[in-house]
Amino acid sequence: MKGTNLGEFEELVLLAVAAMQDEAYSLAITEEINRITKRNITFGVVHSALDRMEKKGYVDSEMGGATKERGGRRKRIFKVSAAGKNALIKSKDQRDELWGMIPNFVLISNEQRNSTPKAR
């Protein structure tokens, strides 16, 4: 069924949640992802992804501290749940396994490949 596997974007968000620990609230996560990926992901997309993952049980949330610039409102701090951890590890294992199967020469860059004389 849909949802048992992490999507690429969900994985990215989940990793950010895991990495950011106590600072993992939606606005900060959005900024962090954008900083690292150099993409321009909107806040809304991240927020709805977090909401979705919470429903699926990959993340838990609790209310954290309030700041003045938030108008006295608390943050929702996300934590990776056990299921989320499993999903991340599973995803990483799958990838590691695939990485391990790649022969070295495949990863020579395109330029290098094009400069080699064509053998025929």
């Binding site: 606005l27 809304g44 927020h47 209310m63 610039e69 108008g71």
Partner: protein, 866 residues
């Protein structure tokens, strides 16, 4: 600095409204934080805009508060489905849909037409930029016997108020007199007249400072004494393509320099003039004028009345004291003048009664149409129950079911609006003729009316759609799906709604019959005067024509078809507001000063109008020439004075002149039949003629007029020949009532059609439901007539109940309307019987269509199904 700037409050409220409380706090916090961050890079304006954008973009299925109103957000996403199922449902029941839409369309068209009418009435005298600051000053005066309120007053009121009180910015006085326009500078008697004008006004030089009309040419600054400002069409009439500025126009005995041109006045004013002439002293023309005050911006006109009272006490009241009369100045806001109570010498008024009456009829028709719509959808709810059961079983909430059926109601209402607008546009020209208005069809699409209509449609859709919607939302899916359908329950509601519909229709029919009868009574009742045509010919108001007019009068008498002629003075012919003066009279043996109506006529008056003498004689020629003082009174006057021997009595004018009573005439209706007979004093006088009354034979009157005009030309040296018929003026007094009757009849037809349309739809449904019963009845040997009775009995009973209910309702309504009249038609039984019978017959014919169709079906085809 940035700390003080807050995110937009309204956006926050919107967020709080829609957002799921579980998500609200941190989401709002995130938004605020973002806002604070953005303030570092962007202007506060842009940050706020972006905040709004955030809030709006988060209006998504997962953030919406699911528990609110029971309306699941999926209802919004199901909307397409609702549209589709509604469309299918409507197409499946074509007759029903058509009846609902047509009925509502007809009802709405009546509603639209009446809204246009009312909207047009409300535009009167509101178009000037300062119209809210202009007040009209009117005068009321009372003594023991009479009470009058005149639209006119002494022109001194304006200057006195301005001098004393700072809040008055300006004032103006004006008076209207028919005038003759001439083209050259020759003395008045020898000049060639160009035309006679009814709507030229004399005013002081302030007029355009108070009434801020826009000048096309010239300016209000040059509006000095002996100048004139023309409207465009009059300028074209007298100067054609030439530039009128700087030219002069001779009017009566004066010369006026044209200093300005303004656009023709809009239709929505009661003070409609063709030209405004400034003179240094308006009281030269008339001692009484229309008076207006312009208040300064920000002043409080509401609290000005005590000051106005003081002005009155120190001017007019001094004079009034002598006659034991009391008076007062009143203020009337310019925009209220059109709706005020009519006063003596007043401008035309809107009829408030008609306005209220039409509005309530429109509303009633809309109710009838709404009930159709409601009843028909109720009648089909039974078929919808299984659909609702299944929808609920797969997760639809009550709110969604309600939303679904309201959508259907809204679709019907929108379609009816389209039809209603089309019907209204078709009938608008007729309504314009009946009410003598010029409402443009584009008005329907004006912002105000459109907004109003769309609002009404949504309200109507909710009102008519909510009952079936709530009813269906309460359906229990388990019961429906188990096959335990509950079909009854709402029949009582339907029945009482039908009774209500027909009560309204019947009341309207009864009213329209009685209104027509009342009007016939007024128009056909003898006014106590001649029935022959009487011409009212305009006479030049100038002494130099005195002998010419008199010669013309005697010349006319030589014509075989002229029965009688009379020269009369100020407002001295029936239908006019009479002059009022104060007299010393002996009432019930005691002398006292009292104001009375008076008219000035010559000796031919009584013959011309064919008035009946109770005692005494007509005036002699010497008396009309002013050699002897005499007066003729009417019966109402004698009754009022309680004179035993009227021919021995004397009436003394306030200036001390005694007039002996030489005759008593029977009462006649000087004013309309709406008012009672008033005491009248008739004085002999022919030196200030205003009209020449000529009674002619009714046969071949067209030829007679030609001859009369020919004689005018030989006698009157090219003075314009203008006349009206007395009878037209008398009938014009009932124009309001005539218009009312026509409009009323029109809407009554719509009302009964709509009600019968509903009946048609209901019977079509019920006969379809009872097909099996009809089949069995036929097999058992029922005749067509028996079938007809079986199918229509229920509805006929309801109409009968409605008839019984409508009798007292109509009787009370009509008798309160008849209160306004002195002569009342009797509220007779036959009016009720006719209405009841007509309704029953129309309803029976309507129902017969289906019944006959049902009873012609071969019973075997129906019963074979089982």
């Amino acid at each position: 600095m940035s700390k003080e700037i807050q995110p937009p409050k309204l956006a926050d409220r919107f967020l709080e409204w829609y957002c799921d409380p579980a998500l609200l706090e941190d989401l709002q916090g995130d938004f605020h934080e973002r806002f604070t961050q953005r303030l570092r890079y962007y202007s506060p304006f842009k940050a706020k805009r972006l905040y709004w954008w955030d809030v709006i973009r988060f209006f998504k299925p997962y953030t919406i508060n699911k528990n609110k109103n029971g309306l699941h957000p999926s209802a919004i996403f199901m909307f397409g489905n609702y549209l589709k199922t509604s469309y299918r449902g409507l197409m499946k029941e074509k007759v029903n849909t058509l009846v609902s839409i047509l009925g509502l369309g007809l009802g709405l068209s009546a509603f639209i037409l009446i809204s246009l009418y009312v909207n047009d009435e409300l535009k009167y005298d509101r178009y000037l930029s300062n119209s809210e600051r202009i007040y009209r000053i009117t005068t009321s005066y009372t003594s023991e016997t009479s009470k009058e309120h005149a639209a006119w007053g002494e022109p001194s009121v304006g200057p006195m108020c301005k001098e004393r009180y700072a809040e008055i910015e300006n004032y103006t006085s004006l008076v209207n007199e028919p005038v003759t326009v001439r083209n050259d500078n020759r003395p008045f008697a020898n000049s060639i007249p160009l035309g006679r004008e009814e709507k030229f006004f004399y005013s002081d030089t302030n007029y355009f400072s108070v009434f801020d009309y826009q000048f096309i040419k010239g300016s209000k600054k040059s509006f000095k004494a002996n100048t004139i400002v023309l409207t465009e069409s009059v300028a074209r009439k007298y100067f054609e393509d030439e530039d009128p500025l700087g030219k002069s126009l001779g009017i009566e005995k004066r010369e006026f320099l044209v200093v300005g041109i303004i656009e023709d006045l809009p239709l929505h004013t009661d003070l409609k003039f063709d030209a405004m002439m400034a003179i240094s002293n308006v009281s030269e023309i008339s001692g009484w004028t229309f008076n207006f005050l312009l208040f300064k911006k920000g002043s409080k006109p509401e609290s000005f009345q005590p000051k106005l009272d003081r002005v009155f006490q120190e001017s007019v009241q001094l004079e009034f004291d002598d006659y034991s009369t009391e008076g007062r100045y009143h203020m009337e806001k310019l925009s209220d003048v059109h709706f005020g109570t009519p006063k003596v010498f007043d401008t035309p008024k809107s009829s408030k009664t008609n306005l209220y009456l039409f509005s309530s009829v429109a509303l009633l028709i809309l109710i009838i149409a709404g009930i159709n719509h409601l009843n028909l959808s109720l009648a089909t709810t039974a078929r919808k129950q299984s659909e609702v059961g299944i929808r609920k079983a797969i997760g639809a909430k009550n709110g969604e079911i309600r939303f679904q059926f309201l959508t259907k109601s809204l679709i019907i209402c929108i379609l009816s609006l389209v039809i209603g607008v089309l019907i209204a546009l078709y009938f608008l020209p007729y309504l314009n003729i009946i009410t003598s208005k010029q409402v443009d069809w584009t008005e329907v699409f004006s912002f105000k009316i459109s907004l109003y209509l769309i609002g009404s449609i949504i309200l109507l859709a909710i009102a008519a759609g909510s009952y079936p919607a709530f009813y269906l939302a309460a359906v229990k899916p388990v019961e429906v799906l188990k096959g335990r359908l509950k079909l009854g329950g709402k029949t009582l509601v339907m029945k009482s709604l039908i009774v209500l519909q027909f009560t309204i229709s019947l009341t309207l029919i009864i009213s329209s019959i009685l209104i027509s009868r009342q009007l016939q009574l007024l128009q056909n009742k003898n006014h106590g005067m001649t029935q022959d045509p009487v011409m009212l010919i305009d006479v030049p108001r100038n002494k130099s024509f005195y002998s010419a007019v008199n010669k013309y009068k005697y010349d006319l008498l030589q014509l075989p078809f002229v029965n009688a002629t009379s020269v009369v003075g100020f407002n001295s012919w029936p239908t006019q507001d009479m002059d009022i003066d104060v007299y010393e009279v002996k009432q019930n043996g005691e002398w006292s000063l009292k104001p009375f109506n008076n008219i000035e006529v010559d000796e031919g008056y009584f013959e011309t109008l064919d008035l009946t003498f109770i005692a005494g004689r007509i005036f002699t020629q010497e008396e009309t020439r002013g050699a002897y003082q005499a007066v003729i009174v009417n019966k109402a006057f004698v009754d009022n004075m309680q004179w035993v021997d009227p021919l021995n009595e004397v009436v003394v004018h306030e200036n001390g002149v005694d007039s002996r009573v030489v005759g008593v005439i029977d009462n006649f209706h000087y004013k309309s039949m709406k008012t009672d007979f008033e005491p009248i004093l008739i004085f002999p006088e022919n030196r200030f003629p205003e009209k020449l009354l000529v009674r002619i034979e009714a046969e071949n009157w067209m030829d007679h007029i030609e001859q009369i005009e020919l004689d005018w030309k030989t006698n009157m040296k090219g003075q314009p020949f203008e006349f009206q018929f007395l009878n037209d003026q008398i009938q014009a007094q009932y124009a309001d009532e005539v218009a009312m009757r026509k409009v009323f009849n029109f809407f009554v037809v719509i009302a009964i059609s709509v009600a019968c349309l509903g009946l048609f739809g209901l019977v079509s449904l019920s006969s379809a439901n009872r097909l099996k019963e009809i089949g069995i009845r036929k097999v058992m040997g029922a005749k067509s007539s028996q079938l007809w009775f079986a199918l229509t009995r229920d509805y006929l009973t309801l109409i009968f109940i409605a008839f019984v209910v409508s009798i007292p309702v109509a009787a009370i309504g009509i008798s309160s309307w008849l209160e306004n009249f002195i002569y009342k038609t009797s509220i007779s039984v036959d009016a009720f019987l006719i209405s009841g019978l007509v309704t029953l017959i129309v309803a029976a014919i309507t129902m017969s269509f289906h019944v006959i169709r049902a009873s012609n079906i071969n019973p075997t085809t129906i019963l074979n199904h089982e």
